[in-house]
Structure formats: C-alpha cells, structure tokens
C-alpha cells in the first residue's frame, strides 16, 4: 500500500492545541469564538484535504519523535482514522455554534476555560484517530481523559465533583491498570506497537494470553463503556449539554470504541482472534451491554440520562461489529461511528435546546412540547429514527451492515440480540416523540405560541438532523472508507 510522508496530520491534530493560547489572550467573547470557528474550520479542511488520497488507498504518515527504542510518536492516516476524524472535526464546527447559543443562553461562567478545554479535547480526539501505534494512541487517550475532566465538572458544584471523581476513576483508572500493562506485555513480546493489519503478536500466541489481553483492552478502554464499566457515562451528564453532545456522544466515547477497534485489529489481529475463536466472548459482553443498557434506558426519566444509556448501548454495537471479526460487521461497526454520531448529537442538541428554552430536563415534563417547539422536536424525531435504525436515516445503513455481519459470521444469537435491541431503542425513544406531539397538556392556561431556543441552538441541530437523513441517501464516503479498511484487514 502506498505511503506518503506529510506534516498535514500533525497540524490537523495540533491546530486546536495552538488555539488555546489564542483563546486565553482574547478579551472579547466574540473574537474568542471567531477564533474557535477559524480553528475548527482549518482542522476540518485539513482533514478533508487528505480524504482523496486516503480514498485512493494511500496512507499519510508523520513521524514526530522516537521516544522509546523502536517506538515512535507517529501519526498515520488510514481509512478508519479518516472516517472518525472527519466526523468529529465536522461536528466540532457545528457544536461550536451550538455552544455559543447554549453557553450564552444560560449565561454560563468561565466560558474561556470551556472553549480552551474543548479545543484540547478535539486535539486529543484527532490524535487518537490518526495514531499509528498503540503508544501514541494511549498518549492522546489520556490527554482526552484529562482535558474533558474540567468540562464534565464545569459547574464546580458538589454533583460535578462526585461525577468528576467517578469519571476519572473509571477512565484514568482502567487505562492505567489494564491498558498500560497490556501494552507493555505486547511490546515485550513483539518489540513493536505499530498497528498492523496482521496483528503484532504472531500466530503462535497462546489462547489464555490472547484472551487476557483482549479483555484488558476491552475493559481498559472504558470510554467505550462496556458493562460493567459504564456508569461514568450517565454520571458525566452533569456537564453542559454541548459537552455531552460532542464528547459523550461522539468524541470521547467513540475514542473508546475506536481504541478497542485498533487494539483488536491492529495489535491482536483478526486472523489470530478468529483462529482462537476469541471474539465471541467480546460479542457476548457487547450484546449483554446493549440489551441491558436499553432496558435501563426505558425507565430513565431524565432526558439526558436516557440518552446516555442509549449511547452505552449504541457503543456496544460498534464493539460487536469489531468482535464479530467479519468484513461486513466491521464495516457496520465503523460506519456506525459516523451514523450514530449524527443521530445522537442531534438528540443531545435537542435536549439542550429544550433546557435553554424552558428549563425542562425530564421526559415527563415534555408533554405537548412539540407544539411549542415543533422544529426542535421534529429534529428529535429524525435523530431518534437514526439511532433506532429506521430508514430514511443513516442509522439504517450501519445497522444493515451489522445485521449482514452477523449473518456472514453465522452468529444467529447476536442477530436476534441486535433486532431485540432495535425494538427496545424504539420503545424508549418513540414515547418521547408521542408525548411531545400527541398528548395535550392538562393545564390549558399555558400559552401555545411557538417558543424555540435561540437560533445559535436551532441551526446546528437542524444541520445534524438533516445530516442524518442525507447520510441515508449518500453514505458513499463513509461506506467507501469502511470498505477500504475491511479489505485491508480481511484481504480482498
């Protein structure tokens, strides 16, 4: 496969890091946010400019520094990394607009700090996406954990404090206790941590070792929220909604799923895992996670909490897609990163808009809200359809491939689990839509005039909702990238 050396990946990762000093020196909020837009746009365009090359099968590499013998900090843009980076950098632009509406609408404190850590988090996310080896990935993974801590705890009250503690304990704790030793064991066995389509361990690694390493990676990357290490995610909902939207529906959680994907495909290797039938155990964990999470979501009254449990479930779809170890399933899992991102971010944007417009946070308070906020709730409906996996939204595409993947791998059990989970998804989302549009509130004294959130909130959620639909009709870019990745991993 052709490889090109370029500094573009380096700048794509760090452009948002360079933004921090700029933001700190800004006196006026307007200038500060203008710069954020500039950086977000530059980042997106840099990534976009690499798309044609990656689509043609080329990989783009930046060597940064060799920090350990035979181990570099190194970026490599391949199809999977490009897919993830494209989604997160595009959604950063949208979220920046939304943040302005949300943070100003609620007159939040410390907005400069907020924007600084947000851009740090985006640097780390793209860093993970473009990592060429596990060490680089680990570096940015930890950077992301630390950069998001002040965002989760933005309100600086007692609830934020305990949530932040849980957040760090789960995410930093597991990465130190599980990923670090797993990484060192791999390095000592093979002398490298470079992601390779054949894995780095060699085919003669024993089953106990491989299964142990696999579980260490799956649980160690706790950002993927595979049960029982999921409860940090509902706790993190204490953050301002744009943080929940971009970080805890897209960037952070998908960094977890993406890291598992990388460790499984690039370090352990699909051939080795297939030979040992080691994927099944992760499939079981993932299926259990999405079924249980969906059941819990049914009973959640807090809107953001319900969305969080839905996210826990949807992340395990990606993990399942990886662990099935078949090309179609992998494509489904990879494309689901993009599809779920657009759907779920829409839902969070809507939750935030409802909060900004009327201070409502609970599902039970949403009776008749579709009349007052028709636009928001229409977007909510589209987002929900995408997460459930109904046409004409993008979520249908990824679920379709996941289902094909279970058939390809001849894993009927997981097919049933997937379909059951889809029904559950419908069961926890559609009642919200029904309640919003078709139940008439009892107190008729309320005025029924339209009262939407400010346009800075509305436009972004319109864009992402429209995006969910557009991706149904034009999924080619993401499908193409996933196809390249699947071909590379499974050969032809």
């Amino acid at each position: 496969m052709p490889v090109v050396v370029s500094v573009k990946p380096f700048f794509a990762v760090f452009v948002s890091l360079f933004l921090v000093p700029v933001l700190l020196s800004c006196r006026s909020p307007n200038v500060r946010e203008a710069w954020t837009f500039v950086a977000a746009a530059v980042k997106f365009l840099l990534i976009l400019s690499m798309l044609p090359e990656v689509m043609s099968g080329t990989e783009i590499v930046t060597h940064v520094a060799e920090v350990l013998p035979g181990l570099e900090i190194k970026f490599r843009v391949d199809a999977l990394g490009m897919l993830f980076a494209l989604v997160s950098s595009f959604l950063w632009i949208v979220t920046t607009a939304y943040s302005i509406g949300y943070m100003r609408g609620l007159a939040e404190h410390s907005q400069t700090r907020y924007f600084c850590y947000f851009s740090l988090a985006l640097s780390a996310t793209i860093g993970v996406a473009f990592s060429a080896n596990l060490l680089t990935l680990y570096l940015f993974y930890e950077m992301l954990s630390l950069a998001t801590y002040p965002l989760v705890t933005h309100h600086q009250d007692a609830e934020a404090r305990s949530s932040g503690r849980k957040y760090l304990l789960y995410i930093l704790g597991t990465s130190i206790a599980l990923v670090l030793p797993a990484m060192l064991i791999c390095y000592n066995l093979s002398g490298t941590l470079e992601f390779s389509s054949k894995g780095i361990l060699g085919m003669d690694a024993g089953t106990p070792l491989v299964v142990t390493l696999l579980l260490m990676f799956v649980f160690g990357f706790a950002k993927a929220a595979v049960m029982p290490l999921h409860s940090w995610l509902p706790a993190a909902m204490v953050a301002p909604t744009p943080v929940s939207a971009l970080l805890h529906a897209v960037a952070v959680v998908k960094v977890g799923a993406f890291s598992i994907l990388r460790a499984v495909t690039g370090i352990l290797g699909v051939d080795l895992l297939r030979n040992l039938h080691a994927g099944t155990i992760v499939c079981v964990l993932a299926s259990a996670t999405f079924l249980i999470a969906s059941l819990i979501a049914l009973s959640q009254d807090g809107l953001k909490r319900r969305l969080a449990f839905s996210t826990i479930g949807q992340l395990s779809y990606i993990v399942l897609g990886v662990a099935l170890l078949s090309p179609k399933a992998l494509m489904g899992g990879a494309v689901h990163i993009a599809m779920h991102a657009f759907g779920k971010i829409t839902l969070f944007f809507c939750a935030g808009a409802i909060f900004v417009a009327g201070g409502k946070t609970r599902v039970s308070e949403l009776t008749g809200i579709g009349i007052r906020m028709p636009f928001t709730m229409a977007a909510f409906f589209l987002g929900a359809m995408s997460v459930i996996g109904l046409p004409p939204t993008g979520g249908f595409i990824s679920k379709w491939y996941l289902v094909l993947g279970t058939l390809e791998a001849k894993q009927w059990v997981f097919l049933v689990a997937l379909l059951a989970s889809s029904l559950l998804n419908a069961a926890y989302f559609l009642p919200i839509v029904y309640r919003a549009f078709f139940i008439v509130p009892e107190e008729t004294s309320h005025d029924v005039s339209i009262h939407e959130a400010p346009p800075w909130c509305l436009v972004p959620l319109g864009i992402t909702a429209a995006g969910s639909v557009v991706l149904f009709f034009y999924p080619e870019v993401f499908l193409g990238l996933a196809q390249i990745a699947a071909e590379r991993l499974f050969g032809g």
């Binding site: 520094a65 060799e66 920090v67 350990l68 013998p69 900090i73 060490l135 680990y138 570096l139 930890e142 630390l146 002040p150 705890t153 600086q156 009250d157 934020a160 404090r161 932040g164 503690r165 760090l168 930093l172 704790g173 130190i176 206790a177 670090l180 030793p181 060192l184 064991i185 390095y187 000592n188």
Partner: protein, 494 residues
C-alpha cells in the same frame, strides 16, 4: 583537564567565601552562590560531553595514583547524575531567592553557605571513586542538610534531630561496611576493591560488608520501612530547603547503591551469587505499597509529597535489583526524572507557602483562580509522578515495568500499577480541593475575590521551565537512554 576537581572545590571554596563575606555584606551571598553553582553546572555538563565523546574520565587528586591517593572516576552513570544534581541545585537558587530573602533576611550568609556546601558534598559523593572519601562527603552533605532543615518552623529542630540520629546510624553502617572491605582487601579505592573482591566472594566478611553497606544506604535513602526520618524532616524544613533536599538527597543515595552494586561489587555477585535479587524486589513491593497507603492517609500537601518520594525511592531500588537491563535502565532514568519532577512539585508547594497559604488540604481551596501558573506547574509534576505520557515519569515507569515483565516479577509490576493508581487518587484529591472549594480563609488577610494572587515571577518562571522540562525530557528520553544510560548499564547485563 581539572574539571573533576574544580567541580567540587569551587562550591567548597564558594561556601567558605560566602560564610566570610556574608558577615560583611549580605548582598554578595546570592551572587556568590549562583556563580559557584553555575561553575559546577558548567563543569558537569563539560564532563558529560567529555564522557560522551572520549569515554570515561579518570582524575587523580594531587597526582597521587590510587590506591594511595583519592581518584575521581567519571563514567556515563555519574556524569548524568552530576548534571542532575548541579542543574537542580542551580535552578532552585533563583526560584527560592524571594523566599530566602524574606524569611531569612538576617541569615542569608549562613543559608547560602550551607546550601552551597551541601551541593559540594552531593557532587563529591557522585564524583568520587574512593569508598571512604564517599563517607566523608556523605557526612558533609548530611550535616549541612541537618542545619538547613533545622532553620524551618518550630517543629523543624526536632525533625532535624530525628534525621541526625537516623542519618548517623545509616552513615555508620556504611562506614562499617567500608571497614570490613578494607580489612579483607586492604584498599579503599572502589576500582581497586572491585579488582580484589572476585576471589573473596565466598567470604562471610564480604557478604557482611555488602549487607551492612546496603542497609546503611537504604536508611539514608529512606527505603520503607527505614523511611521514618524523611517525612518530618522534609515537611518542616523551610520550602527553599525542601525543594533542594527532596529532589536530590534520596536520588544521590540511589546512585550510591547502584554504584556499589555495579562497580564495587559485580552485578553477578549482587544479583546471582547472593540470590537476594527477588527478595529485595519484594521488599521494594512492600515499600511501594506501604508508602502509597501512608501517603493516602496524609492531609497536608507537603507530607503527602514526602510519602510519594518514599514510594519513588522504592521504584528505583526495585528496578535496580531486578537485575536486568530494562529494570536498571528504568532505575537510572528515574534518578533524573524523579529529581526533576520532585523539584517541580516542591517548587509549586513553595510558591503556595510563599503566599502565606497553608499546605493543609483544607487550605487549598480556590488555588486555580488565585495561582493559576503555580497550579499548572503542580499539575505537570503530578502528571509526571502519575506517569502520564509524554511526561518523563511515564518513560521511566515504562522501563521499570518492562524490567518486571522480563524478570517475571509480576509482584513488582502490580505494585507499580497500584502505586500509579494511588498517585492518581492523591493528586486528583488535591486538584479537586483547589478546583471546587472556595478560597480558604484560615490564614486571614486574603481577599476572597477572584483576583489573581500569583507568586512573583522569579518563582513562577523557574517552576514553569521545570514543568516544560518534564515534557521535553520525556520526549527525549530515548536519546538519554541510547546515548548515556545504555553505557551506564554493564554490557554483561541483558
């Protein structure tokens, strides 16, 4: 080349000069100290490059050949430690200028004389090739240390006395060991002893010498459970002294241990013949866990940091005693990394103390708003101690864990991970306090407004330089290992 001799004699004479002229004019103390330590820094860097380009440097004091005269012997191992010692002591000087001139305005003469003399002692310990000379310099460094520590708060003299007793016991053990070696070999020169010892490895006296020396060194480096003197001494010492003593003294003693293991005795003797290697690493495991638990029990930033040092010492002892290349590399790399990160966190603690704030956890509220730069420094040091890449602490831990895996010593592996987790808890507990809690009122006289009350620039800039240094050192850690530490580990070790 006279650099090895000047390296020690310049600060030695500098100390003398400061104590004399300091009586006449207090203003010259600081410049004199800065010049003498600057010269030492320059010479140690010069020596490092000399070692790198031309190989090991031998220097015969007064032209007397060993074993009659004292010889200095600089190889890759101590060239690196020399730079660390002189760099840390030099950086700490301007960083604590304001503090010293405020709190010891009438005693700057004695303070800087002791400071420079102590550094001379530490440099001497590292550079000397004579086992008895090492003892003498050990006492120079220790006695000046006792005096400096005793300059602190009301509890300081008692803590210092405690340190005197324990330190003297440790030094005496070491001296006893040297005596035994002298009896069996008739020599005090390390390389001379090393050439005579192999025939005597079965001798009980040699074993006794080795064991006694190790215990003495372990007391001096505060290897748990022989650490009891350290926390009180470092906590009650005045901040400018803590940030000199804490990064250097224990690390220099780790160097002495490694020197004894590698140069006076052979790795073969220490790790294979005696069959003690695994047992000592288990001691280190106990030490790491014990120190971590004790650190958890502390409610004061400086006390907590003191116990963190105790666990870091155990990292290095364990790494060295794994008896393989990776472990020893990690141990040596950690000497420089730990010195720098300890300096970083103690400078930050010093800045907080300078602003009249208490270091008890309950007094730390609101510090992110009041002292953002100091907190940035503290955070960088904390991340390095936890071992988050790309800070340097991550890389030494990487080698240490690699060593544990290669030696099949999973107890040490688990202890290292456990300690990283505990350090995470420790530091984020502090950070939580600083971030969530309102500004403490216990020390009166502070406005509770949001205005910044940062330490003066002369304290903040060195701190931030050290903080950046942690990352730079991390990124260049491969260069450090490939160019220097690789040669410090005997070629026979794999």
């Amino acid at each position: 080349m006279q650099a090895p001799a000047l390296l020690v004699t310049v600060p030695l004479l500098g100390a003398l000069l400061i104590s004399i002229t300091g009586r006449l004019n207090r203003k010259v103390c600081f410049p004199l100290a800065a010049v003498s330590l600057g010269v030492s820094l320059y010479l140690s860097i010069l020596l490092l490059f000399a070692v790198l380009t031309e190989g090991e440097v031998f220097y015969k004091m007064g032209g007397w050949p060993p074993p009659w005269g004292i010889s200095y012997h600089i190889d890759h191992l101590n060239a690196l430690v020399l730079v660390v010692v002189s760099l840390v002591s030099f950086v700490n000087l301007p960083a604590t200028y304001r503090y010293v001139h405020r709190d010891f305005a009438d005693r700057t003469g004695p303070f800087y004389a002791l400071y420079v003399l102590m550094v001379a002692g530490l440099l001497g310990i590292v550079v000397t090739g004579d086992a008895f000379n090492l003892y003498v310099l050990l006492e120079i460094a220790a006695l000046t240390g006792y005096a400096l520590i005793a300059m602190g708060e009301a509890e300081a003299p008692l803590a210092s006395l405690n340190y005197v007793l324990m330190g003297t016991i440790g030094a005496s053990f070491y001296l006893l060991g040297v005596g035994y070696l002298y009896i069996v070999t008739g020599s005090l020169n390390m390389w001379d002893i090393a050439s005579l010892l192999p025939n005597l490895y079965q001798s009980k006296a040699v074993f006794a010498a080795f064991a006694i020396m190790m215990i003495g060194i372990w007391i001096k480096m505060a290897f748990f459970p022989l650490h009891a003197w350290l926390p009180r001494a470092y906590v009650y010492a005045p901040s400018p002294v803590s940030s000199l003593v804490a990064p250097l003294v224990t690390k220099v003693m780790v160097y002495v241990m490694i020197r004894m293991l590698l140069s006076v005795f052979t790795p073969d003797f220490a790790f294979s013949t005696l069959e003690l290697s695994r047992a000592v690493v288990w001691l280190a495991v106990v030490a790491i866990v014990g120190a971590a638990l004790l650190a958890l029990a502390q409610q004061n930033l400086k006390k907590m940091l003191a116990y963190v040092i105790v666990s870091e010492v155990a990292y290095m002892v364990g790494g060295a005693w794994l008896g393989n290349r990776a472990g020893l590399t990690g141990s040596i790399l950690h000497i420089s990394n730990d010195a720098l990160m300890t300096l970083c966190v103690f400078l930050a603690a010093g800045n907080i103390a300078y602003k009249g704030r208490g270091l008890d956890f309950s007094d730390l509220g609101g510090l992110f708003e009041k002292m953002p730069f100091t907190m940035a420094g503290l955070l960088a040091g904390a991340l390095s101690i936890i071992g988050v890449p790309p800070t340097c602490g991550f890389f030494s831990k990487w080698y240490l864990i690699s060593g544990a895996i290669q030696a099949g010593h999973y107890g040490f592996l688990v202890a290292l991970l456990f300690s990283s987790l505990v350090h995470t808890v420790l530091f984020f507990r502090v950070i939580e306090r600083c971030y969530f809690e309102p500004v403490g009122q216990s020390h009166g006289g502070h406005s509770s407004g949001k205005a910044m009350e940062e330490a003066p620039l002369s304290m903040v800039i060195p701190l931030l330089l050290v903080a950046v240094g942690l990352i730079v050192l991390g990124i260049y850690s491969r260069e450090l290992v490939v160019n220097i530490i690789q040669y410090a580990v005997p070629a026979s070790m794999v």
